[in-house]
Symmetry: C2
Subunit: 130 residues, 2 copies
């Protein structure tokens, strides 16, 4: 598994339980492991393992209280993740906007270059006996 | 490994080689496995494996040409990934903006409630012999 910060962030997000934990903490309140485990049909140990992944990714910070260690969200790594995705989809869409503009210009030039034929066709159609 | 679409997208992004491949394809051009493998010190087989992960995630589409199967980017899964992240960091930041407003209001109320003492103190300071 890759160990650069961005890969660690994306890997941490690649699990529905971890995203559900982050979604809950996004509400702003701190929560203990027991509180976070409540909605899930899994052992405290399994939830603790997910919290460890989120903590390593810097997506949650845990309090010093040795017994409860309440968790809160730290959204900073999310900024870099969004920045990466946004930069590349903008680059891609920008390229295709340019291609679209170019195609429209070519079509316009073709239409401008052949006005007579279009007019003739229309006239012929209109002059046809019905 | 989780198999829901969002988890598959994030897992596909959790690798620097795969992100470099997407970044290259974000320029808009199609590229063959050989072309994509060029910048990396890895076997064609290793690059093909990464392409398979990206294809399964719907992040690239491969052409029908049996020999070359050129790859191009499909940014659609990125939209859902950004949407998920954005929704939760906005929720978190919104919550803390509210908290900040609340704290400022409390500080303002405290300042408004104790104008006399402040004035008296200032006067006393001013009246002190220097």
């Amino acid at each position: 598994m890759a160990s650069d910060p961005l890969s660690i962030t994306f890997a941490a997000l690649a699990d529905p339980t971890r995203r559900a934990i982050l979604a809950r903490l996004a509400g702003g309140d701190e929560a203990t492991v027991n509180e976070l485990a409540e909605p899930f049909a899994m052992s405290l140990q399994a939830v603790s393992k997910h919290l460890k992944v989120l903590e390593t990714a810097g997506l949650i910070v845990r309090g010093a209280n040795a017994q409860y260690r309440p968790c809160r969200l730290d959204p900073e790594p999310l900024d870099n993740a969004v920045e990466w995705i946004d930069r590349h989809r903008t680059m891609w869409r920008g390229r295709f906007d340019l291609l679209g503009d170019h195609l429209r210009r070519i079509q316009q030039q073709a239409a401008d270059a052949a006005p007579t034929r279009t007019t003739t066709n229309t006239k012929t159609d209109l002059e046809k006996p019905t």
